[in-house]
Amino acid sequence: MSEKITVAEALVRCLEAEGIKKIFGYPGAAICPFYDKLVGSKIQHILVRHEANAGHAASGTARITGKPAVCVATSGPGATNLITAIATAYMDSIPVVIITGQVSSEQIGRDVFQEADITGAAQPFVKHSYLIKDANLVPEIVKKAFYIAGSGRPGPVLIDVPYDVQLQTIDFEYPESVELCSYKPKYEGNKLQIKRVAEAIKEAKKPLICAGGGLFSAKAGEIMRKIAETANIPVICTMMGISIIPTDHPLFMGMIGMHGRIAPNKAISECDLLILLGARVGDRAVTAIKNREDLKVIHIDIDPAEIGKNLPVSIPVVGDLRTVLTQLSEIIGTQENADWVKYLHELKNNDKRQNFISDESTNGVNPAVFIEKLNKLLPDECVISADVGQNQIWTANSIRLRGANSPSEENVSVGGRFITSGGMGTMGYSVPAAIGAKSARPEAEVIAICGDGSFQMQSMELATMVQHDINVKIIIMTNNRLGMVREVQTNNYENRLTAVFLDGSPDFIKLAEAYGIKGGYVNDEAEADTALENMLKSDKPYILQVKVDENERSIL
């Protein structure tokens, strides 16, 4: 049964029909009709303090639920402010539906006040986009947007709605499903290819699984772990794959890449069979294998365009990871590989650099020691949101997430989860993403870990946390430097340090206080335990300012 309502109201009803409970946004004149219809809706609107953070928060929610999440902005500057967030979601294949207001249809193209061609500007960073011209198509377009964002290789989808269209009345009926003749993601893997995979695993003496973020999208963490256990295959991961398997799992060897540890990087340069699962094999992750001609590579991914893009592949399999790995698990046998696993284990356990102790005497808190103290207190149900920079590397390499798992059937992640801006490396991601994660998983302890540089790109969101009572904890690794860039200058530019000093930064605890948020200082390791306990005890937002030596390294 259809009924007559305005497009603005239809948009709200579409979101309700999609099961959306919270949206993140920032209003303006061009999106006012939509906001007007939020009044009285069950959907909670969380007002962020910058549009980019609405996008990041939606991304945080989407990572946790495994389903598309929604952000909203007005036309012009509101929409362009979103671009970094859209690009960040795109690079990490996160399903986000973005709704923007647009100037009235008859004004489009005239450079009127707050007009921006956002579908054009965002085009390189969206999976798809719509500029709505025909009001009657709104329900179908929203349904398509959610379907496209969340299926296949997920990604952001933008819907730009002109002001006059929002005010038009349409016959509303939300479609149950949509068909796109030009978009039919492939889920099942080719049976013959999967048989070849099983055979290759059987023949291999030193097989290795490299787990990427695609396993989260496909909710394939558990089946991957089963396969690894059955055939005794060690697992390493990319930055995006951290926490897909518990970090203390006996088969888990760590994160690869220029910032990774010895065991995973040795593993990847010495294995005879590399099984890439939902990993994009980004340039920073694969320097070690570029020249290995003898290496057999299996690549399983839902996006055929990723296979063979950065690395020659011996056995490609296109399909949904959970479906393909389930197919594989039915034909795979048990296997020994004991020497290989033992060898990697020893490497991992004997890694003296585990603690990232810098050459200089540390003036402050050793970040790895600090993270280890956090590990000891961290509840199993948690989300760690790491920013970008040294803080990200320290966290990625040292965080221990017990019972980590991918989202289950019900699309709710359980256990400890790690999230970060892997592909884009967007500073200012951790706090808004944590806000999104906490909104989706209120029962979990959600902690953002960032640097003093990146914190100042997102500190306005403290207000969002207070206003909406979002209990996110923030740890600021304070080295008074743009540490990662400082390290590059030290290593590659003869230590000519420029534009990396953060003098002028506030006392973050005083800043927090101004928002009514409590916090504490950690100036040496002795203070860490109590401070962490206080933070975790609090059922309100809480901030720790952790003093870290300016010469601390992330590359060893």
């Binding site: 579908t119 054009g120 085009q123 390189p124 999976k127 798809h128 986009s129 500029l131 011209k133 496209i148 290789r153 796109l180 003749c181 030009s182 978009y183 996006d303 055929p304 365009a305 063979g308 893009k309």
Partner: protein, 163 residues
């Protein structure tokens, strides 16, 4: 190497921008591009001639396939290619020169599409080589303007690219 790629797309607003944007963004060079509707008015067929290695071609095809509006992508094999371009050449032409130009048109099987007291416009369709020869034959004359379409192409034989 040059590749000829046929793309069937949904006739939605912005589809051409998405496709040309993709080529630009990924550093693929477009030689020529031709677009027109098919027998189904909701579907257009785009023919793109692009330069690149086999690796590049594979990437182009895969990336094009990812665009939601793209229904089908096929690279046409060079040995079975039936490719055509159309050229219109407006040549300055005094009445005394007309017969010379008519001769050229006849030899090349070109049409004379427009004549004025001091110009003549010739029209020819054919493959690239034919068009290039034609342009060479006309080069001694004063060419007022010249316009050439992108290549449209299909594969010889009974198979076809359809939805």
């Amino acid at each position: 190497m040059k590749h000829t790629i046929s793309i069937l797309v949904e006739n939605n607003a912005g589809v051409l921008a998405r496709i040309s944007g993709l080529f630009a963004r990924r550093g693929y060079n477009i030689h020529s591009l031709a677009v027109g509707v098919t027998d189904n008015e909701k579907i257009s067929r785009i023919t793109i001639v692009a330069e690149g290695s086999d690796y590049t071609l594979e990437q182009i095809e895969k990336q094009l396939n990812k665009l939601i509006d793209v229904i089908k992508v096929r690279s046409l094999s060079a040995d079975k290619l039936l490719a055509r371009e159309l050229v219109l050449v407006k040549v300055a032409c005094k009445p005394v020169q007309r017969t010379e130009l008519i001769d050229i048109a006849e030899i090349m099987a070109a049409k004379i599409s427009d004549v004025s007291p001091d110009s003549m416009t010739l029209e020819l369709s054919g493959n690239q080589n034919v068009l290039t020869t034609f342009e060479e034959l006309l080069s001694p004359y004063e060419i007022i303007e010249i316009v050439r379409t992108g290549t449209v192409a299909l594969q010889k034989g009974s198979s076809g690219i359809r939805v």
